[in-house]
Symmetry: C2
Subunit: 249 residues, 2 copies
Amino acid sequence: MKKKVIKNKLVELNPNVSVDCVIFGFDFEKLNVLLIDRGTTLGIPLALPGNLIYNSENLDEAASRVLEELAGLKNIYLEQIGAFGDPLRITKITDQEWLKAMRAEPSARVITVAYFSLVKMSDYVPQASSFAKNASWVSVQEISELAFDHLEILNTAKESLKQKIRRQPIGFNLLPEKFTLSQLHRLYESILEKPLDKRNFRRKIQKLDIIESLKEKQKGVPHKPSQLFKFNKEKYELLTKIGFDNFGF
Amino acid sequence: MKKKVIKNKLVELNPNVSVDCVIFGFDFEKLNVLLIDRGTTLGIPLALPGNLIYNSENLDEAASRVLEELAGLKNIYLEQIGAFGDPLRITKITDQEWLKAMRAEPSARVITVAYFSLVKMSDYVPQASSFAKNASWVSVQEISELAFDHLEILNTAKESLKQKIRRQPIGFNLLPEKFTLSQLHRLYESILEKPLDKRNFRRKIQKLDIIESLKEKQKGVPHKPSQLFKFNKEKYELLTKIGFDNFGF
DNA sequence: ATTTGAAAGTGTATTAAGGACACAAAGTAA
DNA sequence: TTACTTTGTGTCCTTAATACACTTTCAAAT
């Protein structure tokens, strides 16, 4: 990373612009988001991971950097969901770097560019980094309060994800290489927040012809073991090339 | 408007954040965009209308303000399409206000938050304001070059509009009160950039039950006069309340 | 060894929506 | 009166959406 090496004006933090990431993970039951506990005392609401951007990077780069710096995540599915910028975001007074930047330029206020990202939960284990001590996966259903305007951002992210998955099969980014149809089924139900008929779901997914069954089955489960599948990226890219963008959910 | 009245830090321009608007209009033939000619000499590419934001306003307010200040348009359909922020946007060196702001804070760069808006073309006649001398409607098909990263913004706006109109009947914002089904039909074809079968289109639109036929007909046309319709806002709001968001295009 | 519990896996019939397609009717202008 | 232009309409066929129930296969407990 070049950002801290070169010392000139352009690599300074921009005190006015931050990125925040809604990092989604799926535990085979429900959808989760990675949140940060910034509080030393009780009762301080959790926040989305985010940071100010450098003047030397573009927005997507900044979001990737935040993902990597804060959670060690690389090459992650990322999608911008929009900019948020009430003057009231000025209440972000507990953020150290923001405070520092504010001292230099007190009239400014922050706008944030929000992203959502999809990660395999196994790729991020909260003990892995120093940051991670304060980070944890929280079920989206249980979130009723967040710091700053982060609840609004989360809700927008949920809606974006819903719309996106109705059009592109991005759900595979939340699953391991090998997965079962039931896991995929629950994933779609979690994101869309509605039940989907099992047989109809399986038929529809299989007709798309973007997953292929492996010769392997689940092991050690106290019930009929499930067939394992993997995502067929080549066939998916064929679909997108012909402009296919409707999965019918 | 409070912005220029109160004289304190918070009403200053923020040198780092601008809004740009992709203002769509429909002339019953094709889709157009309102562009500004910033050039005194020939060969300077056209630009989207936009400006820096004030620290005292939120992003949506800033976009509304730009629409009103630059084109006298009020109460216009507006939707954010995202933030754009290459460090290269620093090339925006011809904008006076930006230059001024840069003198105060030279290390900064601009990110822009882009919006698209839908207006009835009759609501904006380019002779109406001083700004307007340099503004004009340009067919989207004819645009192959724009200032800064505005071509990228325009393309994103076109894509957003396409997606949005497939889900919500926002096209009415581009039409006068009274319109014909053929006009609506051409509007959808212009936005979606593909032909739609006339009979199938009419059937689909009428089944939605969000337009109602007036007792009036077109006059003075050298062919069979068309039935006039108007948009039924109440019925549309009923639809959205029950979560309907798929128009099947 | 047998039973129990739990999830996997499978097919059909009905209804709704999408897509292709052609010709008569109503006005103006020449 | 004729020519021209756009409106307005219905049917058939194919594809997609939805609703619905029972058997299979494994582990664990008895």
